[in-house]
Structure formats: C-alpha cells, structure tokens
C-alpha cells in the first residue's frame, strides 16, 4: 500500500512535540543536511564531477564561461553544468539562496561582499555577507593562482584573513556614446556637468533621444548609474578619491549635505528631460539592443554591457566618458566596482575539482579569453587586450571604487536603508512625488536610526 512506507517514516513524530521541537531539530537537520560536507575533498583525479557552476546572466560572460567549461571538460574529462538566472531579485538572488540551501552548486558567482558592517548582526548583513561570515564559502588561501591576482581586488571578497573569492575583475559605469551621432551634430565629449547638459539639449532639439537606460522589470537599483558618479564627483572637493559610499555609511557626510541634494537635483534633471520616456518601465535587459538600434545617442550603462553592444553590431563606433557630476572637470572621474567573483561552496562534494576549475580559469590564456569576451578590466596581472580597453581608452580600469551594493544599504535595517525602499523612493523623487531635499531628509532620518 502506498501509505505504509510514509507511515513508518513519519508516524513516530508526535504532532505537537514536533511543533515545539521544530526549533531545536531544525538546527540539527541544517547541519547534518548541509554544512558538514567539509570532508568532501575526494582527490580530484578520481572525481568525475559533475561540477556545477552558477552565474547570473550577462550574455557575453555566460558564453565566455560556457566556452571555458567546454575546454575544461575536454581537458579533464569531467562534466560541467552551468546554471544561470537573470540578475535580479526574483532570478539570481533566488538561485544563489537555493544553491546554498540545497547544496546544489560547487562554484557560485557572487558580487563581492566587503566591506562588512561594523557591528555585525543578522539584521544588518546582506545574505552574501552572512554566508561569508558563516563559513558557507571555502577559503582559497594557498591556492597557487592566488598570487597572480591584484591583492586590492581580492580584498573585496576576503574576510578575517581568508580569501573566499576569485574576483574576476572590475567594471565601470558611465556613458557610451554613438560616435556617428555625435559627429553629425558636432558634439564634443563633455567634461563637466554643464557641458553634458548642453550636449543633451542639442540632441533633444534635433529630435534625438539623448540617453537610454532601462530600470524596469525589477532593476530599480540601476538608478545607481546616475547617483554614484554624480555624488562622487560633487563630493570630490572634500573627499578626493575616497569612497563617498563609506563616508555616508559612517556619517561623515550627511545625506542632507548640499552637495548630495545637488546630486539628486542633477539626477532628476537628467532623468526627467534626457532619458528616454518611461525609462522606469523599460526592460533593463533590452538597453544594449535599443542603443545599437539607434534609439538614442548615448547609453547609460555598465561596461559589462559593452560586449553585448559590440556583438549586436561589431562595426558600431562607440566612445566612452564618465557621467560628469561637477562643473570642475578635474573632479570628475569614472566609478568602478569589482564584479563577478567566484566562490567555492564549503558543502560542495567536488571541492578539489572546483579548485582545479578556478586554477584553470586563471591560467593566462583562459583568463585572457574571459577578459576579451566580457570587456572586464582584469584583476590578474599581465597584459590583456580587449575591445573595451580600446573603446574606454584612458578611463579603462580607472575610477573611484563603489560596490554595487553600497555600504549604507542594510537588508533589514531602517526603512530607507533597505535596498528596495532606497531605490523606490529615489524613483519617486525622479517621478516628481518627492522633492530632492525631502528625499535627503528621509535618507538621513533612516541613517540616524542606523547609527543610534
């Protein structure tokens, strides 16, 4: 009978005892079920995989990794599975969580988790930070390839002296422009905010949509493409190249600082006049395509999308400049963030194989494939050439570092410091229902709450 087996397994669990015992037993189940597989160091030579890798969808990076996986499979005779999901909350964030919970991945792509909050509690850490602090990732110290990488970049995924991640490189955000359109209207690359607005005005007067960006379908946080560079440039007079993100989180710079309000005001001016209509609903995945199709003269995006642009039209002439926030040209700089970082999960059953894959990945000829395909600014020392390096010229790999998940964001923290609320409110400011000064006040209020 079908029910019999079920009865045998579950009958001894008295219902109410279970209800109250849930708390205690979950901990046991959690540890036995998932965490104590640390001994999975079966020697790699006998381990035939399959090796499972997860990463978010960035088409050029995915195809680069697929190619690398094929070569790895051919060389070592093991099977590699690549799981991907869209880089948004309902997509990759869920895949990450389920991979860790289910122990279903060996190597996982994360965004770097440093800096950790000063007082660490479960309420103020991001999920990835909690994982890093709770030994979900395997330390990679002592791996032979580690020394080839830039220490500074690696530190974005290190915690308490342990290197947990291979930081594959650095991306930048800024403006990619269509050289043909700029030439047609005799436009020069702007170096100050006023010049930039003039460029936009000229384009608009000719009926050309100046800038395209897309924050629809769950990517409201891509408003950072505007906010981060504008505020970094405006605060440069007091902070220099130091991170505004850290200064805001530490309370050294107040949200109500006039420079911050200026940044919000500039953001609003750009968004409500020079972005395409309804940028708030435009799918973020479509923006490279729309730019290639000539729907706008400029694309406000991260350099990770440059490869998609070039793939769609390899002949397109493109230039790059950082979105200028200040009217003092020397204050303006690009912003950059360490990006895709490989970690090995501690409960992986193919740990040695996973480490072998990382070593393979970092071997110069394979790594250069990756750099070339993605346009990432490399963190491994050596000379690598890519189209992105040519297009971005002197800006390539430069800029003030600010992590995509900025320092002030606190997952279960005060209302406006929670990522969703922070960006939603900022969008409301851009759409006109909240003034820049009010926005700054709201942010500051939450910030005060966090530091009290």
């Amino acid at each position: 009978m079908k029910g019999k087996k079920l009865v045998k397994t579950v009958a001894p669990l008295a219902v109410l005892a279970l209800a109250s015992g849930l708390v205690v037993s979950e901990v046991d189940a959690g540890t036995t079920g998932n965490a104590i597989h640390g001994s999975g160091n079966a020697s790699a030579s006998t381990d035939n995989g399959p090796l499972t890798i997860t990463m978010w969808v960035n088409p050029p990076a995915v195809s680069a990794v697929q190619k690398i996986d094929k070569e790895f499979e051919a060389k070592y005779g093991v099977k590699v599975n690549l799981l991907t999901a869209a880089n948004d909350q309902a997509g990759y964030t869920t895949l990450e969580q389920t991979s860790v919970q289910g122990g279903t991945a060996d190597i996982m792509a994360i965004e770097p988790f440093e800096p950790m909050p000063q007082k660490m509690t479960t309420d103020n850490m991001s999920v990835v930070q909690e994982w890093a602090a709770n030994h979900v990732f395997a330390p990679l110290n002592g791996q032979p390839w580690l020394s080839k990488f830039n220490k500074n970049d690696l530190s974005a995924a290190a915690y308490q002296g342990k290197d947990y991640g291979l930081v594959t490189g650095v991306y930048q955000t800024g403006i990619f422009y269509n050289k043909a359109i700029f030439k047609k209207y005799n436009l020069k690359v702007p170096t100050t905010y006023a010049q930039f607005i003039n460029v936009c005005k000229t384009l608009k007067s000719h009926g050309v949509t100046p800038i395209w960006t897309g924050i629809g379908n769950g990517a409201t946080f891509y408003l950072e493409f505007m906010m981060y560079p504008l505020m970094q440039d405006l605060l440069a007079s007091s902070l220099g190249n130091a991170s505004a993100s850290a200064a805001l989180a530490a309370g050294k710079i107040k949200w109500t600082n006039p420079k911050m309000i200026t940044a919000f005001t500039e953001e609003k001016q750009i968004a409500s006049n020079y972005l395409e209509n309804n940028y708030a609903g435009e799918n973020w995945q479509q923006m490279p395509g729309e730019f290639v199709a000539g729907k706008s003269a400029m694309l406000l995006d991260g350099s990770w999308d440059l490869a998609s642009v070039l793939q769609a039209n390899p002949k397109m002439q493109i230039g790059y400049f950082p979105l200028p926030g200040s009217n003092v040209a020397s204050d303006n700089n690009s912003v950059s963030n360490p990006d895709l970082t490989w970690v090995v999960l501690n409960n992986s059953k193919h740990k040695a194989l996973a480490e072998k894959w990382l070593q393979f990945f970092s071997s110069p000829n394979i790594y250069s494939q990756y750099v070339d395909a993605t346009g990432i600014s490399p963190s491994e020392s050596g000379t690598f050439k890519s189209n992105a390096a040519t297009i971005m010229g002197k800006w390539f790999g430069k800029g003030r570092v600010i992590n995509q998940t900025a320092d002030w964001l606190i997952p279960n923290g005060p209302y406006y410091l929670q990522s969703n609320n922070f960006w939603s409110e900022q969008l409301k400011m851009l759409q006109g229902s909240v003034s820049p000064a009010k926005l700054a006040q709201e942010y500051q209020q939450s910030q005060n709450q966090a530091s009290s």
């Binding site: 209800a19 708390v23 969580q97 909690e130 994982w131 609903g281 997952p411």
Partner: protein, 296 residues
C-alpha cells in the same frame, strides 16, 4: 451511527485513515501553528546557523524599528484588497446580470471570462507584462494614439492600479459564476412581474434580483476580500513588490526568501497578514449576514 463493517474490516477502516491523517497533521496543522512559534525565533534560511528564541524582538523590529515599512505595506495591502473586492464584485454583478440573459454567444463569453482561472499566475503575469511593456507593447500603442505614454509597471503611480486590474481580470470569471448561480435561483416570474410594471431593465435588476441574491453577494465579497488579502504570487511575477505594490504577503516573502533571509521576521509579517485577514473577513461576514437578514 452503527458501523456496518465489523471485526477485521473495522481495523482496515482505521488503518487506511492513518496516512491521510498524518499528512494532514504534518503539512496542515503543524505549519499553521508554527508560523507563530517561528515568529519568536531568529531562524534564517542559511544552513548551519543555530536558531534560538528571541522573544518579541521580531515584532519590535517590525513595528518600531521599521514602522514605516509595515505602514507602507499595510497601505498597499488595503488599497489593493479594497479595490479588488469592490471592483471585482461590481463588475461580476454586471457580467452575471448580462450573462444570464439569452443572446447569441453567451456560452462562449462565459467560457472566455472564466478561462484565466486555469492559466495560472506565470502565464497571466508574463502575458500582461508583455502587453504593458512601455515600448512595443499594444497598451503603449493605444496610449500613443492619444499622444501620451507611461512606464506602466515601472511607474510608482500606475503600478498598483495595474496590478489591481490584472488581479481582477484573472478572478472575475470565478466571481461571475458565483453570481450567475445566485441569479439562476431567483424565480423568473418575479422579474417578469416587475417588467410589466414598466421598470427599466437595470432598475428591474437592482430592485428585484439584487436583494434576492444577498447570499451570493456574501460569498463573492468574502472570497475576493480573503483572497486579495492573502495573495502575492501574481504581484511576484508582475512587479516583485516595487512601486507601492509591496503587500503584506509580498513583504513576508521578500523578507524570508529574497534579498534577506530572515524567516523569523518573515513569519512575524505573516502573522500580521493572518490577523488582518481574519479580522476583515469576520467583520465582513458579520455585516453581510446582518444585511442578508434585513433583506429576507
């Protein structure tokens, strides 16, 4: 009552009931009770982290530290649930009124209105996301005829009304069926008598039929209210809770499973949602029952 089966057969009866009962306890009773228990712990979804009881600190977190979040979410929930309940029932009443008439294609229309009930949230959500895409979608095409445009689900002003629209669209057929069943129980002669007195068609419905279907109204309203206070799967597909669509269910889900993985706080939000649903449904039930009595 006496059992006609005896001896060994009686034992078989009891034995065959066990599996079902165990399933019911394990996956029905235990989870319902433990939401409350979990809301007093600091459970996370991270494997291997020990959990312990933390008293009411999750509730302090929700109501004090993050009062704004729960207030915003309550506001979204109430706007969503109230609009869905009122509009869905009003439109369904009209539809049922018309669909109980005889005219060509009436069966086809009934089928069509009911169809979304089988499609499920993924298909419905993706379909309307495509229709309301700001460029290239048919809704944008219609707006452009009037020289305007919108970010639709990307707009903090229109996202909630649109989510309400899709929710009603999906569940309208069901409520309509409830009213059709109600109208069919009203004796035809009553309507005929009123028409002879010269009452207009709509007035006829309002004055004669509507009071007669008070029980259907109770069912229709309670179902729409309870459903819309609890649901979040459609919102998950359409907006994932951004732009003022963060209803309590969505808030609970996001706190527990996305971005943060705090099951304790999530369970606390789940309890708020549960209490709100119970209170609203009981109040509505009481009011509508009294109304039914007054009508009869």
């Amino acid at each position: 009552m006496n059992n006609v089966f005896a001896g060994r057969q009686k034992l078989v009866i009891y034995l065959t009931m066990i599996p079902g009962f165990v399933v019911f306890c394990l996956f029905g009773i235990v989870p319902s009770i433990s939401t409350l228990i979990i809301s007093f712990t600091n459970f996370t979804a991270i494997p291997g982290i020990p959990a312990s009881f933390v008293g009411v600190s999750n509730y302090i977190h929700i109501f004090v530290d993050n009062a704004q979040g729960v207030l915003q979410s309550l506001k979204d929930t109430l706007i969503f649930a109230a609009s869905v309940t009122v509009l869905q029932n009003a439109i369904a009443l009209w539809m049922a009124h018309v669909l109980t008439k005889k005219f060509p294609g009436v069966k086809f229309f009934r089928t069509l209105v009911f169809m979304p009930a089988v499609l499920g949230v993924t298909i419905i959500g993706l379909m309307w996301s495509l229709i309301f895409a700001p460029s290239g979608g048919p809704a944008a095409g219609i707006l452009s005829l009037f020289g305007t445009s919108s970010a639709f689900f990307g707009s903090s002003r229109f996202a909630l009304p649109l989510v309400i629209f899709v929710q009603i669209w999906a569940n309208l057929g069901f409520t309509t069926i409830v009213y059709i069943a109600g109208i069919n129980t009203v004796p035809v002669e009553l309507g005929e008598a009123a028409r002879i007195d010269g009452a207009s068609n709509w007035l006829n419905f309002w004055k004669v039929t509507f009071p007669m279907i008070a029980p259907s109204l109770t069912v229709g309203v309670i179902l729409a209210a309870a459903g819309s206070l609890r649901t979040y799967d459609l919102i998950y597909v359409l907006t994932d809770g951004v732009n003022n669509t963060n209803t309590l269910g969505m808030y609970m889900f996001n706190t527990a499973f996305q971005g943060s993985s705090n099951l304790g706080i999530g369970a606390g939000i789940g309890m708020i949602q549960f209490v709100l649903t119970i209170v609203v449904v009981l109040a509505l039930q009481k009011y509508l029952a009294r109304r039914e009595e007054a009508m009869s």
